[in-house]
Symmetry: C2
Subunit: 381 residues, 2 copies
């Protein structure tokens, strides 16, 4: 599969952003986060792991985005479709890009309104002290962009969905090989290491996320790192991975029974699949995130609601989680091109839980499973 995108993909993203910006009266949008900057540029690097340097992209009301970035990124940014690239030799404690950014924003936006993400799921990736200096130097006002960029990113192009599908297929092949690496007696930490190795050997570029657990008849929590304790007969092993292919994530999990499952575990797994099916059945354009939540919740709790996870699914794409949340309060309607997870959890008593997750793309008709849909029966190791 081809890496990267044609320039037309970026031109389309920019045109949609600028249409929305005109409606919102914004002269520029300031972006500081990896996925937002990559969305408009194609700038893909794992260097964001280093928290030292801030990176900036300005989306103007007209014309192409302007990158204001540390010099260390200039060569890579020059390989994208962006041609106005302004750099400073970061880190520069006295003025770490602030004056260069202020000058560029003033040049582009003048006294016009500048928007930046300020709402749920966003943050400003630059020091607060730099933010204060920047605001003092700007000629125009800075305010929220009201989720404009997140809204664009939530609806994926066919080329983006292909990449997510590729990531999910890789994860699916790795999950299919879990019986090769996991059995009673194997330390969970070794299962984690070997599973990441499987993801890589099946084609993942990297494996940013892996969580999971293995415990008797279910597990207590779904975000723990691996312990060295060995898997034991009667355990339910859960692995939940977010792996990346060409900058796009898979995010789904699988459960395994170490030895024969108890009836409770078998029934819980079947119920999780039923819940997923019930939500997938109504996952059509116009259905809301809240309606999906209720479809899942009706099966897993009989409509009681409430879960420590706080939600039963979410958007996925350039980030492990992004966009809508399957919660009663989120009334975002589904649109063709959205990619979301369905992630029901079921309580098993004694602080035990089981969680299942699939990835689907919303289409005009029935959703397309991007993860290889799990069967009703739990896989035995």
């Amino acid at each position: 599969m081809q890496r990267g995108f044609d320039v037309a993909e970026y031109e389309g993203r920019l045109a949609r952003a600028q249409t929305a910006m005109a409606r919102a009266g914004l002269s520029a949008i300031l972006l500081t986060l990896e996925a937002d900057i990559r969305y408009f540029t194609g700038f893909l690097t794992r260097f964001w792991e280093s928290p030292t340097r801030p990176w900036f992209l300005i989306v103007p009301a007209q014309g192409k985005p302007v990158a204001v970035i540390p010099a260390i990124g200039a060569a890579l940014m020059a390989q994208t479709w962006i041609d106005d690239i302004r750099t400073w030799p970061a880190p520069e404690p006295a003025d770490d890009g602030v004056s260069l950014l202020a000058d560029t924003l003033n040049e582009i936006a003048g006294k016009g309104r500048i928007g930046t993400p300020m709402g749920l799921e966003s943050h400003l990736r630059m020091p607060l002290a730099s933010w204060a200096s920047l605001q003092a130097r700007l000629h125009g006002p800075v305010g929220p962009e009201h989720g404009l960029v997140a809204g664009l990113r939530a609806v994926k192009s066919a080329a983006e969905i292909d990449k997510i599908a590729q990531a999910c297929a890789i994860a699916g092949r790795a999950f299919a090989r879990v019986p090769q690496i996991a059995a009673a007696g194997v330390p969970l930490s070794k299962v984690f290491r070997d599973f990441q190795g499987l993801c890589l050997s099946e084609g993942a570029d990297w494996v940013p996320y892996l969580a999971g657990a293995s415990d008797a008849g279910g597990y207590a929590d779904v975000i723990s790192p691996a312990r060295d304790a060995p898997l034991a007969l009667g355990d339910v092993l859960m692995l939940d991975t977010g792996l990346v292919w060409d900058g796009y994530f898979s995010d789904f999990d699988r459960n395994f029974s170490v030895g024969p499952p108890s009836r409770a575990v078998e029934a819980a797994h079947a119920r999780l699949i039923d819940a997923t099916d019930a939500a997938a059945a109504i996952a059509r354009p116009g259905t809301t995130a809240a309606e999906l939540y209720h479809a899942l919740d009706a099966v897993v709790t009989g409509g009681q609601g409430g879960s420590d996870a706080g939600r039963l699914g979410h958007g996925v794409g350039m980030q492990l989680t992004e966009g809508l949340s399957l919660i009663p309060q989120d009334h975002t309607p589904l649109e063709p091109g959205m990619v979301i997870t369905l992630e029901p959890g079921v309580a098993l008593g004694a602080g035990r839980t089981m969680v299942h997750e699939e990835v689907i793309a919303i289409t005009e008709g029935a959703p397309r499973y991007l993860s290889p849909r799990a069967g009703s029966g739990i896989v035995r190791l």
Copy 2:
């Protein structure tokens, strides 16, 4: 090696923080970033990969830290030494932890000053809109903590250095096996995948960072992801990895010559080792970051300075990069317990460069190499 730390480690960190807070007149410190929160709690999870939920830790002037976190993290946080854990069912669009955090801060700090990281290398990991609401609800003023937490984190305990040493030893074993996976004709993307597999099989918990390049007689940039193009005779292959063991990073690179190296490449590699040796020779308590920069720069450029990388080394620990920078403007004196990288780069003409990196711990005497010190000759594949 034992995972985690004894409670005494956290008690010591807290006591040092509270001593410094008293001096700075702070009633509380608010932390929002993964490493800062983990430093005081031991809360270790890869779930931070999800940008959806904010997490908060309050370090009070007296008493233990208080966690204000999404309910999904409660079970894992309860396994740390923290016992005051307040949760909300995130994501909650109407009030995503803001009122709970405000109430807790007001209870702890009253009208006293609250500090939060605002300087170089920091950011505030919560939505700007939530930050504005929070400030409006607080009884006391919020301002900078003046790098207090970063300063504490920069000086590592023996137990922390052991973990970094473990991560570096794992990376060293993986680098030693590169000849098994890399040769002329192998696509660079496959080398990247297989190298990450080597890191995992040698004991890494995960591999958050890998960058590198392979090109004729040197490379153009050091932060690129892998391309599918195959290695060719005459290439210099560079792999730079940040792998994690128990939450602590290694960060160093190695260069390899695909086939016999040119004289220019041989000489450049030897010069990089000479530069590293020159800096290591003066890396004693009291030497400044700037002095290390100049020691490196004198060898690689003859004192001309200037590099797109912007610095020739940095601190490393719970983050891939943290703390001081080897730049002329950073006059931070070294202290025993600091762990830093020495990362000289040498220009080879025609836009080509080579970079070398080692990790050392500062002691009362000569520094301790945590990475297995490379020899002067470049390794041939």
